[in-house]
Amino acid sequence: MTSDLLSDLGLFVLAVLVGFEVISKIPATLHTPMMSGANAIHGVVVVGAVIIAGLADDPFAYVLTFVAAAFAAMNVVGGYVVTDRMLGMFKARPSRPAAADQPSAPTQETAR
């Protein structure tokens, strides 16, 4: 085992513990956006796609690089945008009477 691998393992274990600690305090109300937000974070694999692009030197590797980059970019961009869209819907409006001006067409947030 190299020292690099050992320090990577240490990072991995610490990150797992931080993950447990941070997530266990999130209320059920926000579990779906949280899952979606975490989903976007694993889109960080786009960094991996950039790195393998630097190593690719034959057509096969170029094709795989393209697919990996496309997949990862879809994950990261889509993940953050959809999470933001969901969270934008959580509004605290306990008192304002809103029923009168509620359009029933679902266009409000698609225009955003």
């Binding site: 990072l11 989903n39 889109g43 960080v44 697919v67 961009v77 969901m86 819907m89 959580f90 679902p106």
Partner: protein, 481 residues
């Protein structure tokens, strides 16, 4: 280490801090959006600095000056553009009710990308005839297996939620044996890669075995268990990304992947607990039904003694109540009736009636999905109350309005000896008066009669959630006009 590399390491550190703080801010709806933006900012910085490193030719693991070929740039940039546009468009266009499918698809592509990163690096190294050490090949094998299982499994999960694949558990003769066989192929191929040399055929066996395993693992799981499956696969993708980080020696991948792996695991556990099932039992599958439990006729064991009510009765009860608790369930999500529900709640609130929504942890199709659906319909989140907090309130409310929820309101769960014994439920039966909007007396997921429906204070409004709520809404409006 060049100055740029040092800068990159620092940016990675900053990005990791952004991810953790971003998740931390998701504790409250008031700060959650900022948290997501912070996380996205960290992500953007990490990607930008990596591209800068690539341009400077310093990303190669061996630290040498590798000049990146023009075709690699073309592949990378066109891939990033195509993926970003696809992600952006689908995220903007998706209906809120279809959210779980989309999350599942993003999850699939994330897992697929992680597997591809491992594959490319392995093929390159083995092609150079370099000695492959176990500390490289073990993470590659784990990366490829976990990533491929997640890829195919998440696509099947999305297909089931979208209705392209039957939501019912799918098993066929020998499916279990085939599943075990595919796992053995993937693991044996992986063992060969770890002990042997880099071999393209072994790698192909690992990929094919793992892809088949993912499909065969999710097919037998019923649609109602999909939330747990998606959450588990999300955790898998995190792990695959972390393994990809080990493969290419990149720490931001390790940190972010581990964070997501841990968060997904916790969420999976919470979900399974809320359904009173173990994760293992769910993954073995073959239990439960699809969720399209259609419009059976009004019948059933309790059929004789249920009290029917019509929309006008319900409207009168609601309009003259002081406190109403709405209990939204899967039926509301399936009928896409969240807007009617939100309008009814807003109308009652306007009349000075206290309106609360009782949210069971597994209402909807993902943990917390119901909150998102209701938030979409402009229900203030201060009215969305979780199970533990709302349960004591039922005794003090005038009307509990159950919309398409079944098993989570069945008092039978308090007794031992049936399919849902011990499952945490909403204490709807303690309310002074109960109205249930439901298409029929058909069974829920657990296949049990709901004892709530036979109780004297319960009235049944047999209708599709959307139509039923629209009728009640119209009746309340004419009543108070």
């Amino acid at each position: 280490m060049s100055a740029l590399e040092i800068a990159a390491r620092l940016v990675y550190l900053g990005a990791a801090v952004c991810f953790v703080l971003g998740l931390h801010l998701m504790r409250s709806p008031a700060t959650a959006r900022r948290g997501n933006l912070l996380s996205a900012a960290g992500m953007t910085a990490a990607i930008a600095v990596t591209i800068a490193l690539l341009a400077a030719g310093g990303t190669a693991a061996e630290g040498g000056d590798v000049s990146v070929s023009g075709w690699a740039w073309v592949a990378l940039i066109s891939g990033l553009v195509v993926g970003s546009v696809a992600g952006l468009v689908s995220a903007r266009r998706v209906q809120m009710t279809a959210m779980p499918q989309l999350v599942s698809i993003f999850n699939a592509v994330g897992g697929g990308a992680a597997a591809l990163v491992g594959i490319v690096d392995f093929v390159r190294l083995s092609g150079e005839g370099a000695a492959i050490t176990a500390s490289f090949s073990i993470p590659v094998v784990l990366d490829v297996i976990i990533g491929s299982v997640t890829f195919s499994g998440s696509l099947i999960a999305a297909g089931k939620l979208q209705g392209w694949i039957s939501g019912a558990p799918i098993t066929f003769r020998g499916s279990r044996a085939l599943n075990i066989f595919s796992a053995v192929v993937a693991l044996a191929g992986g063992a060969g890669l770890v002990w042997g040399q880099g071999n393209a055929y072994l790698l192909a066996a690992v990929i094919v075995g793992a892809l088949a395993f993912g499909v065969l693992m999710v097919l037998p799981i019923g649609g109602a268990d999909m939330p747990v499956v998606i959450s588990l696969l999300n955790a898998f993708t995190g792990l695959a990304v972390a393994m990809a980080g080990f493969v290419i020696g990149n720490q931001i991948l390790i940190i972010a992947g581990a964070l997501v792996g841990a968060s997904g695991t916790i969420l999976t556990k919470l979900m399974a607990d809320a359904m009173n099932r173990s994760v293992i039992a769910i993954m073995i599958g073959g239990f439960g039904t699809g969720d399209g439990a259609g419009g059976e006729a009004v019948a059933g064991v309790a059929g004789a003694d249920v009290r029917r009510v019509d929309a006008d009765d319900v409207a009168i009860q609601l309009a003259y109540a002081t406190k109403v608790i709405i209990v939204p369930g899967y039926g509301l999500a399936a009928a896409q009736a969240q807007r009617e529900c939100g309008e009814l709640g807003a109308l009652l609130t306007e009349r000075g009636i206290t309106v609360l929504y009782a949210i069971h942890p597994v209402a909807g199709r993902m943990p917390g999905h119901m909150n998102v659906l209701l938030a979409e319909a402009d229900v203030p989140y201060t009215q969305l109350i979780e199970m533990e907090e709302i349960n004591p309130e039922f005794a003090t409310c005038d009307v509990a309005l159950v919309v398409g929820a079944n098993d989570v309101t069945n008092p039978a769960a308090r007794r031992t000896g049936n399919a849902i014994s011990g499952m945490p439920i909403l204490d709807v039966d303690k309310a002074r008066s109960v109205v249930v909007i439901k298409r029929s007396l058909g069974h829920g997921y657990a296949g049990l009669d709901n004892e709530l429906y036979g109780q004297p204070q319960t009235g049944m409004l047999f209708a599709d959630a959307k139509k039923g709520l629209a009728q009640v809404l119209a009746a309340v409006k004419t009543l108070v006009a």
